[in-house]
Amino acid sequence: MKIAVTSSGATEESAIDERFGRAKYFIIHDTESGESHTIDNESNLNLQQGAGIQAAEIVLSEGAGVVLTGHCGPKAFKTLKAAGIEIIIGCSGTVKTMIDSYKQGDLKPVDAPDVDMHW
């Protein structure tokens, strides 16, 4: 399975970016191969509206089954849900520690968005 993590930097050592739609990078980690690659979310940062929706589409096109992030707004939530992608919020620390926590089963998906707009 693939895990998408919102990241403030381009590597797994970077800190989590708490925003979903306007995250700087997405790090896509494949639990089977143990490999990761990075997606620059630059183009999305400047969107006035709908950044969360577009971010969800990116994550879907990467084939991720779960998103690890800090916060998730209602539009991104609705899109991720429709895509059948699980959402884990409240993440902090480095991308790597969150991936490890997830693999150990320490993180539970949520069933509602936690912020209002503009994340």
Binding site: Q49, G50, I53, Q54, A56, E57, L60, K75, K78, T79, A82, A83, G84, M117
Partner: protein, 290 residues
């Protein structure tokens, strides 16, 4: 044709409404037939000073798509058409985000399965009435657009408010602050745009952005420097370099701030302020009548 004078500002809090309302009331004192349209739809506050009696309120709506999933074949045409992420195709589903929809009607047109119909979504209101009847500064025909809380489609409400414009007399448009679509929708086609600014570095920066937008629209512009004694010379110098006429420089006056905070008509409460406003009217007429 009515003469349209838009009062705009690169940022909020420059005294745009004070100037706009002041201009409307001073013009009405000279000649009847003045209309004031508050297009600052996110925060219309001209009414606080003009205290109009509202006689009509109409809803402004945007046609948004509704998808009949039984007819939808998940072709994806709607989502690839929409620039605003208001309709999105996820796997075999179609999601709609009505608050993002600009009501362009494109998605329903490109849907060959005819699975999309449009329903109106109310995003705001246009209210009309009369202000200051029986006052030496009135009467003023009053129009105000008001965007519903959390709604985003300000331009729809602004355009609807401007449709209330009469075909004669003078119309003062209080434009929303900034230089984005909403400001453009409020000023487009105006005979003159009065840019209200303050002589501070921030004021100058916002003025430059607003001037660029107004020039792109090809509209004649002039400047009013408010609180003209609080900053430095840079705004004046910029206007000189750009060939922008400064119609008035209005010094900071505690009496204006006091009258403002009490919601008083400032042209009545502060005679010095009224005089400055009145002073620019002849030149405004010259500019708009070419």
């Amino acid at each position: 044709m009515t003469l349209q004078i838009a009062v705009a500002s690169g940022k909020g809090g420059t005294g745009k409404t004070t100037i706009g309302v002041g201009l409307a009331s001073e013009m009405a004192a000279i000649k009847p037939g003045v209309t004031y349209i508050d297009c600052d739809v996110e925060e219309p506050n001209g009414h606080l000073f003009l205290k109009p009696s509202i006689t009509e309120k109409r809803a402004v709506s945007v046609p948004v798509p509704i998808v009949d999933i039984d007819l939808c074949n998940a072709c994806g045409a709607c989502g690839s058409f929409c620039n605003f992420k208001a309709i999105v195709n996820i796997l075999d589903k179609v999601l709609t985000f009505p608050e993002l929809c600009h009501g362009c009607g494109g998605c329903s047109k490109v849907c060959e399965a005819q699975a999309i119909r449009e329903v109106p979504r109310v995003v705001g209101y246009v209210e009309t009435g009369t202000a200051l009847p029986g006052n030496e500064h009135g009467p003023i025909s009053f129009v105000q657009g008001r965007l519903e809380v959390k709604e985003l489609q300000a331009t729809h409400v602004i355009r609807a408010a401007r449709k209330e414009m009469p075909d004669r007399g003078v119309t003062i448009i209080d434009a929303p602050p900034g230089a984005a679509c909403a400001m453009v929708a409020a000023t487009k086609g105006a005979d003159l745009v009065l840019l209200v600014t303050e002589p501070t570095p921030f004021g100058l920066n916002d003025l430059e952005i607003a001037v660029n937008t107004i020039r792109e629209l090809g509209l004649p512009a002039a400047v009013v420097v408010n609180r003209s004694d609080i900053g430095d010379e840079r705004v004046t110098r910029y206007c000189e370099e750009e060939g922008l006429e400064i119609l008035a420089e209005i010094p900071h006056d505690r009496a204006v701030a006091m009258a403002y905070s009490r919601g008083e008509l400032i042209t009545t409460a502060v005679p010095e302020f009224a005089e400055r406003i009145r002073g620019m009217i002849p030149r405004i007429y010259e500019l708009v009548q070419g």
